[in-house]
Amino acid sequence: MTKIWIKTLAAIILIGLLIAFPKVMGVLNTNIFIGFAIMALFAVSLNLMLGYTGLLSFGHAMFFGLGAYTTALSLKHIDNLPISMALLLGVLGAVVCAVIVSPLLVRLSGTAFSMLTLAFGQLMYIVCLKFREVTGGADGLGGFPVPDLKIPFTGGIDMTDPVNFYYFAITVLGGCILLIWRFTKTPIGSVMISIRDNDNRVDYLGFHVPSVKSLVFIVSGGFAGAAGAIYALFQNMVSTDGVLGLFTSFNPIIMTIIGGVSSFTGPIIGAGLLTILEEFLLRYTDRIALFNGLVLILMIKFAPGGIMGIWDGVYRKWFKRRTLS
């Protein structure tokens, strides 16, 4: 029983900290935290494919960008659209794209899969860049209204106020991360892990591997779309380079690798570390990408399991438990 007790206690403390955060840390750090939470969900949604199903996607920004653009465009063109609807439309946009793309993708695996995702990612980037009338091209799309969050009985909560938005964003992003956690605990979750370890045997056990892969692809795309939608609401500005660029696809991979590929919380830790690293470095140098690159190389070379891998190694040495996450 103690295990569950510890878990609930930890959960309560965590929620307490999250609620107190904006009061304690001030508006600037709150905004940075929201940025971190968005990237955490984005990285966790990528890890659903990379860490759990063994599929490395170089085009995950496609869903993030589509989520952001659909939300931004729907708020811009449909007046007094409630914020929750805009969010849902964002997720829907990403899911529809995943449904269209997945049949082509799931037949491949390994490097071919990665290359095709990169191709799709860049295709989406160029199309958005070129059709400026709709997407605002290099200028991006800004100034769309961020409507108040309407709660049935009380009046609307002003979403442009950073602290209110913080609570809204954290509930949505935290909720999504929990949903993904639960998803990995379901039967389809264990099938995914088996596909990562040995997709051939899974085929012989009666599972239709391509349809499982496309389900994972769509779920992961949908959650990336949610992260993109929150991003659009948070920044009130969506630019092709910001949400669809090559590095928008690479960042979650870097976070997952640094945090730990084979664990659920790895990407979250990776996202936190990169955000802190960036905030810290920005004061001293403009060369943030240089440090990120170096950290990435060192991690892959000396600690392929990432921070969680190191923690797991240490944990095993001290507690002699035979676990192989």
């Binding site: 390994g110 071919a112 690159g293 070379k301």
Partner: protein, 290 residues
């Protein structure tokens, strides 16, 4: 030679010139992938690195020709060091580890360049011997771009001779189809890998030096060329030199005539081709290996 045919010939020549440079970069990329299964996303950064070395060589008093000799060799040395100390030990985590490591290398090179050579564009003037125009049945065409085409053709010839006529070339071709088997036959594959990586980076280095007088050398030059070369390798087929050559010319001409006739859609077309090929023929047009 009235205006429209002059324009067509001009665009074809530009297409060939850009296609040839694309081939130099893509050939290195596809050889390395064919041999070692590593798709080196940092390959275009070596192309840029060599251009910056060319700037330094010329800064320190050397002329363009010395730079054309020295810069690719320095880049190849750095390429070998990257393969030797970084890429070699991580076959364990499979292709995913290697792919992501090359992303790290790309990021480091792109930023390091700005630290050492600053952020503004460096100009390299066309070498005097090649400056000016030449008259080809009525069309004025810059001599330097012709030089680039012939340089690339010469290197292609060298490459083909090396691969198909020498013992080492045979080993490399065998390695492309089955590296383990060749190693089993007692050939020191790690050494061959290192040489292929050096050759691949050297090719990218030559392209980097060749392109600098045409364009200015500035931190953003790797992105465009990197993505184009990547599309060429994927469409041409991983590990296939012929595939790289054919698709490099195709995309070089597409780049020129795309801007000429359908400016808005030209870049999109390139990626549409890539998606189509990858979806229906993952091995690429001439590739043997996924």
């Amino acid at each position: 030679m009235d205006a429209t045919t002059a324009m067509y010939v001009g665009q074809i020549m530009h297409g060939l010139a850009y296609g040839m440079l694309l081939f130099l970069v893509a050939s290195g990329l596809t050889l390395i992938f064919g041999m070692m299964g590593i798709l080196n996303l940092a390959h275009a950064s070596f192309f840029m690195l060599s251009a910056y070395f060319c700037v330094s060589v010329i800064h320190m008093g050397g002329n363009f020709w010395l730079a054309l000799l020295a810069a690719p060799i320095i880049t190849a040395v750095i390429g070998v060091m990257v393969e030797r100390f970084l890429l070699r030990g991580i076959h364990a985590s499979g292709h995913i580890g290697e792919l992501i490591l090359t992303v790290g290398v790309m990021m480091v090179i792109m930023e390091a360049v700005q630290v050492f050579w600053g952020t503004d564009s460096h100009m390299i003037s066309v070498p005097s011997a090649l400056a000016g125009m030449v008259n080809i049945f009525g069309l004025q065409y810059p001599l330097y771009r012709l030089f680039v085409i012939f340089l690339a053709l010469a290197i292609l010839g060298l490459l083909v001779l090396f691969l198909f006529k020498t013992k080492m070339g045979m080993i490399i071709r065998a390695g492309v189809s089955d590296a383990e088997m060749v190693e089993a036959l007692g050939i020191n594959m790690p050494l061959v890998f290192m040489m292929v990586f050096a050759a691949g980076t050297w090719l990218a280095g030559v392209a980097g030096v060749a392109i600098s007088p045409l364009l200015s050398v500035f931190p953003g030059m790797a992105d465009q060329m990197g993505m184009d070369a990547f599309v060429v390798v994927v469409v041409g087929g991983f590990g296939s030199l012929l595939g790289a050559f054919v698709s490099a010319l195709f995309f070089g001409l597409l780049n020129s005539f795309g801007i000429q006739f359908l400016p808005r859609i030209a870049p999109v077309l390139m990626f549409v081709f890539m998606v189509l090929v990858l979806s229906f023929k993952p091995k690429g047009l001439f590739g043997e290996r996924e």
